[in-house]
Amino acid sequence: MLKVLTEAFGVSGYEAVVRDIIYKEIKDFCTEVEVDSMGNMSVFKKAKGGKGNKKVLLAAHMDEVGLVVTDITEDGYLKFAPIGGMDPKVFISQRVTIGDIKGVIALKAIHLTTAEERKKPVDINQLYIDIGAKDRADAEKYVSKGDYCAFDSKYEEFGDVIKAKALDDRVGCMIMIDMLKKDWNVDLYCNFTAQEEMGIRGAMVASRGIKPDYAIVLEGTTCNDLPKTNETMKVTRRGQGPALSILDLASKANPELMNMLMAAAKKYDIPYQFRASTVGMNDAGAICIADGGVKAASVSVPCRYIHSPVNVMSKKDFEDCERLIEAFLKELGEDD
């Protein structure tokens, strides 16, 4: 299922394909499903048992970073701009899809660059997408300005590792799907949100009106445990379990909820780590300020090279993240 989810096209604002895949998977397991004008899919699953059921909101975003075609040159090449935060270095020599059309992101060959050009970082204006068109008229038969492009990257597994595009945040969607397939003694709300990569816009709309007792954002988060990296810049480490965020640019985790998550991890012997960086943001930023304030936290699977075509995560971290959410929901249900 994660293969299907990650290979699907879902650049911010165009999440329909991903949403449909998810809907088909969860429709038989939930009480209500609603899609709003932003494209968020809000799912409710009534508690199976228990008394005075707690309301828990889980959230994960469906969208991924990508590109938008800004111009078509006379030669038939496509100029583009990023959708979401990306380093132009990751674009070079990548395969992309524009609907059914395939293309590659090209840069002038090294033989043709000057020594001076080679010293400078690549600017997005130097890059273009080659779809094999003869000229502008030929390109316009297949592509228009404003068309969205996604990276064309296959899901692969090797050892403990999964490589795919859009693990941020299809991994969160996958965990929510799995949670919806089980019964709980809590009223479970799952928001599959849109446009997270464009400034957590979907969650700003979808988070209102639920007023959950607790909210957990499920994410694929930065993992920068690379050689010669300053300790404070590693953020998370692959293989050390799900990451609990303490603070980012848009939210600070609720201490009560953090303690509950840590207690659940300890009880069920699940490893965890802290996301010890204040950079980045996610849907928790919108959720924590909704309706006068919500107790919110983020639990993430560390993913190396996020916002690129080759995200890499540990299967074990993914499994442990699922176990942690299960443990939390189970414990909360038993408290009732």
Binding site: E231, I246, A276, C288, G292, G293, K295
Partner: protein, 304 residues
Amino acid sequence: MTATICKSFAPAGQEAQMRELIQKQMTEIFDDVQTDVLGNLICKTGSSGRLCVECGMDSCGVMIAAKEDGKAYFTGVGPITAEYLIGKKIVFANDVFGIVRYDGKTPSDAKLSDLYLETETDKLGIGEFGVVESDYCESRDKMFANGLSNRIGIAAVVEALKKMPKPEDLCVVFSAQKRFDARGIQTFLGVNEFEKVITVDSIGCGNAIKSGRGCSLVVVDKAGVCDSELRTELENLIKGEELEAVVTVTDENLFISDISTAGKGTACAAVAIPVENKGKSFEGVKKSDFCAAVTLLTKAIEAL
């Protein structure tokens, strides 16, 4: 009281100690004192939604991000610079402290990631929040402290409320996470409507803003403008009562825009206390400017 407020531990998002301190003062003044999910301290008497006075409770600080070879590395909590932190004593909630070290030669080039804490690393966990020790002191007509700019507004609001008769219809919010884009007050105003909001803060002295001239009525800040009607009301009050306050324009963000646009929108004005050396070691505030802010707040609460 200002000294006690300055010494309270309240990094953004962990304002409990400060909240407790203020709460003790406010329960004598207000009928209803509550804390919401984000940690805002909401003090209310009456419920007309006429006026809300707001002031951030939190201060900038650091968060432990990694420990290695007996050193603790950290990131910033709120806007805080590496140059300011070098050599400072950082205190933590569990009374552990650390000294910020920088092994480079040019402090102005330092980044937060270049700094580390010389501390008892075994007593500090990842994610632990710390703040620069205040070291509050007074000399003649001035107050000095590290982080005074984050605290002087609270002291002014508390002082004003203690000085005036018990209000009959007022809401005062000591907001949490102000250093994070005014998240606390924005959340509160998202579900509570008010005709007018006065936010109380500090403002750095510079070319146009001098200390010793009273407090500032900020009409334009980095991102927003004061409501024109509320501005007129406050300006008339200042003239009529001959208060020591000057109309001020600043490029600092006092969150006028964030507050004005929260919820269904509200009229907002900012009262600020000039702070010398803002953002650097031992910020200074003239007592006369502080008193001017207290008086303006007292009169404004009574008049509005």
